[in-house]
């Protein structure tokens, strides 16, 4: 199925897809070798899993921003739904499933399911809107998810799972464990996320997105992006396709959230705030909207660079802001575009 589809692709597109896979696989092998031969510092090794998680987030958001052409400002919300549901389920499974990679995989699947449900529920109202309104409502939902998780308590005792909101009224029996503790989040997480798991997740996310983009649905997404009215007039069900992209994107983000969270011993809902959503947007914009490989590279560079340039760390967020503005001006303004083209020494001479 996949192969047939790839053969049917235009050559340039197929090449781009293979190039993306090749770069990701090569980067994985290089990192593995460097890590096992001790060429990586411990801080670098510690960053491998978060980098993978951010790369997957970039792929996920790129599906919405680059392919569907709508702006989601609440993607960190899906990440946090995935993180909390994934970690909580991993803790609940600790006794029954002792194999850590299997538990991680199951937790990521559960996280993806929960995030997909959240994406579906949020999508019902959100996807009736468009443009700026859609963006601001996703922002609102991101904040609502954060507020809810900050006030959510989940515990487990011999009588089963107990949940409560706002204040802890779970009244756990003796021997019970309060897993999600409102603003304190989840602590005592077993760090079972591995670089290999991150790599596998990234490959799966890429396969899903590339397959989706190069299918009938994917072409529908791009038609909606390029001209919503024309797409509607030839009978495309706008809401259905938007929902499909949105739910898929949320599910991928959820799995990335679970991976990310299981790299730390403690997570709190405030970690997944508006700033995180913007950070992921910066990856997508810098990498080029709709360009998966670009987003992946941007995620890696913008995660490693601030660590390497610690003395400039206070300028990091400022740099992100400048990146957003300059990228938009460079790609959308004719004057800036031609100015930048003039700076490029390798540009082809135009025929006189």
């Amino acid at each position: 199925m996949t192969m047939k589809r790839l053969i049917n692709l235009k050559r340039a597109e197929a090449r781009k897809i293979y190039l993306t896979y090749a770069v990701v696989i090569a980067a994985y092998i290089i990192c593995q070798v460097m890590s096992s031969t001790g060429l990586f510092s411990s801080s670098m090794r510690g960053m491998l899993v978060p980098i993978c998680a951010y790369m997957v987030m970039a792929v996920s958001l790129n599906l919405v921003v680059g392919i569907l052409g709508e702006l989601s400002l609440g993607h960190a919300g899906f990440m946090s739904v995935g993180a909390f549901s994934g970690v909580a389920s991993a803790i609940l499974m600790q006794g029954t499933i002792t194999n850590a990679p299997l538990r991680l995989a199951l937790a990521m699947v559960i996280a993806a399911i929960f995030a997909a449900i959240a994406g579906f529920l949020i999508g019902i109202p959100v996807l009736r809107l468009k443009g700026d309104y859609l963006a601001i409502v996703t922002l609102a939902f991101g904040e609502i998810i954060k507020s809810i998780l900050n006030n959510f308590y989940l515990g487990m005792d011999s009588e089963g799972i107990q949940i409560s909101m706002i204040t802890d009224t779970t009244r756990l029996l003796k021997g019970g464990r309060l897993i999600i503790r409102g603003p304190m989040g989840i602590s005592g997480i077993q760090k079972i996320a591995t670089f290999t798991a991150g790599f596998v997740l990234l490959m799966i996310a890429l396969m899903i997105v590339f397959n989706l983009v190069n299918s009938r649905s994917g072409r529908a997404f791009m038609a909606i992006r390029d001209d919503r009215i024309a797409a509607e007039s030839i009978g495309l069900d706008i809401t259905k396709y938007k929902m499909m992209a949105f739910v898929m994107s949320a599910a991928i983000a959820g799995a990335a959230g679970a991976l990310f969270a299981m790299n730390y011993s403690t997570i709190v809902a405030n970690k997944f705030d508006f700033n995180t959503s913007i950070l992921i947007l910066v990856f997508v914009v810098l990498g080029g909207q709709g360009n998966m490989l670009g987003g992946i590279i941007a995620a890696a560079v913008l995660t490693i660079l601030p660590e390497k340039l610690r003395e400039f760390s206070e300028y990091r967020m400022l740099l992100y802001a400048v990146v957003l503005i300059v990228m938009m001006l460079a790609t959308n303004n004719a004057e800036v575009k031609s100015f930048l083209a003039g700076l490029n020494p390798f540009r082809r001479k135009e025929a006189a």
Binding site: E70, P125, D132, A135, I136, F141, I144, Y320, A321, N332
Partner: protein, 293 residues
């Protein structure tokens, strides 16, 4: 009586939202863009006012005037550098630029003034009027806030309906092409709308910080988003709508804080936004614009 107290503080908070919402609603009405950085202009206004009053010992009202001038200039510069080159660009690009600008202002403020919260001196002396034998107390800041909001609304409504520039603004929001053909300088009108909105944001910043006296680089962002909610609630593009939406949102927020949960009050405000957009996307007083192909 407690109910009335909450109601008055709701109206006061709502007045601030209303002034901020004016900036959003006018810019959206004319340039059809969501100026995400508007909330951060409020913060800059707050800082200018803070330094003018606390460091240079200016009269508080003079401090506010300086802040208004500073923010007006800032609004013009931001518009010129970031938004004007993107007049013809897709709205997604403009929105991302505006988010970038919001981040830029916040982080520049962080570098210039650090993240330590500053204690904002009230622009008028603290104290309160006691009513009903002291059972109801209304602070001076509250009275000033509500009064300024009413004055601004009145002046702005007159400006838009009576003056030539106001007419030009209305013409641009109705039909840019036709306005251009009538000899209106559309670009200058849009820039002026930004200038007015940013000047108002400075006043909102001074009032906001007088009522809630902690000033940080992130002070403006949440009120900014809430004021946008208010603008949508009232009907974007409509000046009376911004007023009504702002007041209602302020009251809803204070009641949610008092009667539901203070942690969930933001969630309640955002839920209002979602419900409004689903039930009546054009807002309370907005016009329903039909899309033509």
């Amino acid at each position: 009586m407690i109910f009335l107290n909450y109601f008055i503080s709701g109206i006061s908070l709502g007045s601030i939202y209303a002034i901020i919402a004016l900036g959003y609603t006018m810019v959206y009405g004319i340039a059809k863009m969501l100026n995400f950085a508007h909330g951060d202009v409020i913060m800059v206004g707050g800082y200018i006012c803070f330094y003018a009053v606390a460091r240079y010992g200016m009269n508080p009202f003079l401090g506010v005037a300086v802040a208004v001038v500073g923010c007006t200039l800032l609004g013009i510069i931001v518009e010129r550098l970031a938004y004007k080159p993107l007049r013809q660009a897709p709205s997604l690009a403009v929105l991302i630029t505006a988010i970038g600008m919001s981040y830029f202002l916040q982080n520049t403020a962080l570098l210039l003034w650090s993240s330590n919260p500053k204690v904002f001196p009230s622009i008028i002396e603290r104290g309160s009027f006691k009513l009903f034998d002291g059972r109801l107390s209304v602070s001076h800041v509250t009275v000033l806030t509500i009064a300024s909001c009413l004055v601004i609304m009145g002046v702005l409504t007159l400006f838009i309906s009576k003056t030539r520039l106001g007419k030009a603004m209305r013409a641009c929001s109705e039909d840019k092409g036709a306005a251009q053909l009538m000899g209106i300088n559309v670009n200058a009108t849009i820039s002026m709308t930004f200038a007015i909105g940013s000047g108002l944001a400075a006043i909102a910043g001074a009032l906001l910080c007088s009522a809630y006296p902690t000033l940080m680089p992130t002070t403006g962002s949440l009120p900014g988003i809430k004021a946008f909610t208010a603008a949508v609630f009232g009907g974007i593009g409509s000046v009376p709508g911004a007023f009504l939406g702002g007041l209602m949102l302020g009251v809803i927020e204070i009641f949610a804080k008092a009667y539901i949960s203070s942690q969930l009050s933001d969630a309640v405000v955002f839920a209002v936004l979602i419900v409004v957009l689903l039930v009546k996307p054009s807002g309370l007083l907005g016009r329903n614009i039909q899309e033509k192909v």
